[in-house]
């Protein structure tokens, strides 16, 4: 933790640099989403674009947490609180993703989403 004047001045320079970095990566995020030359995966929005966008966001969030929120020199108890909460949040999201990848099947697995569509009796297949 910065205590002396010199340390605080150094920390301010770091904060400014990290702020500029955050601006830069925000622009990168927008460019990746809007410029065709930076559109990886299929044309338009797809899973690849989602992963790239979220990775950049996670990197920016890490910078904020580590530098601005001083997590780089915090006590273990803080890591414990924050880590538990993050774990819980990720678990919630993983649960949703898992349920989508392993759904309860009533309809035909060869149809578009594998689910029973009342408008189409052919999907009323019990596997």
């Amino acid at each position: 933790m910065a205590d002396s004047v010199a340390e605080i001045q150094k920390a301010k320079r770091l904060y400014f640099f990290i702020g500029m970095l955050l601006f830069f990566f925000t622009v990168v995020t927008v460019l990746v989403a809007t410029v065709e030359a930076l559109d990886f995966g299929e044309h338009g929005f797809d899973g690849v674009d989602a992963v790239i966008g979220l990775l950049i966001a996670a990197f920016k969030a890490s910078l904020v947490m580590i530098i601005f929120m001083h997590l780089n020199h915090e006590k273990p108890l803080i890591y414990f609180f924050y880590g538990l909460a993050l774990l819980m949040a990720f678990f919630c999201m993983w649960l949703i993703g898992w349920s989508k990848s392993d759904p309860i099947q009533f309809g035909s697995p060869t149809k578009v989403d594998g689910f029973y569509n009342p408008a189409n009796p052919a999907t009323d297949v019990h596997d």
């Binding site: 702020g19 299929e42 044309h43 338009g44 966008g53 966001a57 904020v64 601005f68 819980m88 993703g97």
Partner: protein, 568 residues
């Protein structure tokens, strides 16, 4: 009382109280927003409609991201200034932080307002696919002419005519109204009807007396009825309240009498048949029916028997202009309206179209349903009412022309147009096609797509979306009259429209509340922190650090929100 470890660290944890407190709080905030982001993921993955992509204008979100990142830097600079005992610098940086917060909320308000005034309509199309095309745009303003026709009006000297109204109303020529007393009549409906009647010099009067038996005279021969309302009395909310009170009293009285008779009849049939428990399956139904008929003959003279509805006539017939939400869609037909409080209005339905300045066409849902049923989406779309409407047909044909060229261009890179490209015509495309064809009607949009020379409006041309107030842009948004029977569902861009907007407003609204809360706390330190600074500057620095931690968290949430909502 001296609270220990406010500034100095505890020996066991190495932390002061406020640090422990704020991190625990932030952990709870992580679980809160984690739950909301999970909710977003759930809604998106399981949506039974094509999830809107890039539905929000990017520029306001981008500016807000810069604002919050900047404010994160300035709040930590404010803390550093306090650590170095530089009060003026602290004030400077903290003021910028709060100004950034205000700027963020102003931009948020602009974005929200744009959504509240932007309309979307599902067009019901009969055909093999259960689905709908979507038109988006701004409602026009209209006036009702002498011949009961609607006429679109525009602003004069910056204002619409006073008698104008939104071109999304049910226009009905009313000759009779029946109010149901079994449930409360909605006063707002009555007040609006009376206002319109007064404006058009129409009188709404009771057709026949509303009278009930005098309770004291019940059972006596020649009992007279008391007139609660007389034929010819004008409709007022007080008159309806009066009739409702009388009806409810009468109903309570009559129910009590009926119940007593029924109790006596049950007791009789048990005695008659010697049955211990009641039940229709163990009594002789014909005997029971005969007994009940006798009861009813005896009951009638003992009941007050107030009518459950009162009917008013409207002279001369009044052309009412009512909000569609006042009635269910199956509460409307050619000669009758049924409002949500069960009021029935008889007369004649006049033309009640929705008139929209269209700035987007979306066939994503139609295409999705067509693919599910193994049909060709383009063939299904060609049969849609939207594509039959001449102005929209022109836009769709331009789009198909552009799509041809775009397909060739992408094929050279082993790619294909996405469903978004194929089935959604955005406002930028509508404006671009119109500008090109205006300059040169024979312009080849396919070639322009292939060579990527079609110039779309930039981010600043539509800051918060399609700008219907800019005449140069608005002239390209065709004015379309949508017959009422084609309107399957309509809404502004609010949670009512789709789960996308529901989660958008929930997450960004809660985030906005956090911004306001953080702004208040930081503002307190700025405006009222001098005293603490003079007595214990380290304490104030500690507090600002803790407030700054909350502010960084708010920035953190937005760092994820911006790409998820605006770019994906």
């Amino acid at each position: 009382m001296e609270i220990p470890f406010v500034v100095n660290a505890r020996k066991d944890t190495g932390l002061n109280n406020s640090k422990v407190g704020i991190w625990l709080f932030l952990a709870s905030e992580v679980t809160l927003f984690g739950g909301l982001f999970s909710g977003y993921l759930f809604l998106r993955l399981y949506a039974d409609y094509p999830w809107p992509e890039r539905a929000l204008p990017i520029l306001p979100g981008l500016i807000n991201t810069f604002i919050l990142i900047g404010s994160s830097v300035t709040v930590v600079f404010a803390w550093a200034a306090l650590k170095m005992r530089e009060w003026r610098k602290f004030q400077f940086y903290m003021s910028i932080t709060i100004a950034c917060a205000l700027g963020f909320m102003v931009l948020k308000a602009i974005e929200y307002n744009a959504k509240f005034s932007h309309h979307a309509v599902r067009i019901s199309d009969s055909g093999p696919v259960e689905g709908y095309g979507i038109l988006e745009g701004h409602k026009k303003k209209v006036v009702l002419e002498e011949n009961d026709h609607l006429h679109v009006v525009h602003k004069e000297n910056g204002k619409y005519p006073e008698e104008s109204f939104d071109a999304n109303r049910i226009v009905f020529k009313a000759s009779e109204m029946t109010f149901t007393l079994t449930r409360p009549v909605h006063d707002a409906f009555v007040i609006e009807i009376l206002k319109q009647a007064a404006r058009r010099d129409s009188k709404i009067t009771l057709i026949e007396d509303y009278a009930v038996k005098d309770e004291d005279q019940i059972g006596k021969d020649g009992a007279e009825k008391i007139k609660i309302l007389k034929a010819g009395d004008e409709l007022t909310t007080d008159a309806l309240d009066k009739a409702e009170d009388v009806f409810l009293t009468s109903r309570a009285h009559d129910s009590a009498i009926r119940t007593n008779f029924e109790k006596a009849s049950w007791a009789w049939i048990r005695d008659e048949k010697g049955i211990d428990q009641p039940g229709y399956d163990i009594i002789d139904l014909e005997v029971w029916k005969e007994r009940r008929k006798e009861d009813n003959d005896k009951l009638t003279p003992l009941m007050i028997g107030a009518g459950s509805g009162i009917t008013f006539k409207v002279e001369p017939a009044l052309t009412l202009i009512l909000e569609p939400s006042w009635m269910t869609s199956n509460g409307r037909n050619a000669d009758q309206l049924k409002l949500r409080d069960d009021t029935v209005i008889k007369g004649k339905m006049l033309e009640s179209p929705m008139i929209l300045g269209v700035d987007a066409i979306d066939f994503s849902f139609t295409a999705m349903r067509a693919k599910e049923q193994g049909l060709d989406p383009d063939a299904v779309i060609e049969k849609s009412w939207i594509v039959q409407e001449p102005k929209l047909k022109a836009i769709w044909e331009n789009h198909q022309e552009w799509l041809k060229g775009e397909t060739i261009r992408l094929a050279k890179k082993d790619r294909k147009p996405s469903d978004f490209d194929r089935y959604r015509v955005t406002w930028q495309k509508i404006v671009a096609y119109a500008q090109v064809k205006e300059a040169d009607p024979d312009a080849d949009l396919a070639k322009m797509a292939e060579e990527k020379t079609l110039a779309l409006p930039g981010w600043f041309d539509g800051f918060a979306g399609a700008d219907h107030y800019n005449p140069e842009m608005a002239k390209h948004f065709p004015e379309v009259t949508i017959p009422r029977e084609k309107v399957d569902f309509e809404s502004t861009f609010t949670p009512k429209w789709s789960t996308y907007y529901a989660i958008y407003f929930t997450i960004t609204g809660l985030h906005g509340l956090h911004v306001i809360g953080g702004m208040i706390v930081l503002g307190y330190y700025l405006f009222f922190g001098r005293k603490m600074y003079d007595s214990n500057p380290e304490w104030l620095a500690n507090r600002v650090e803790v407030g700054g931690l909350f502010w960084h968290f708010v920035d953190l949430v937005w760092i994820f929100l911006f790409p998820i909502l605006y770019l994906m």
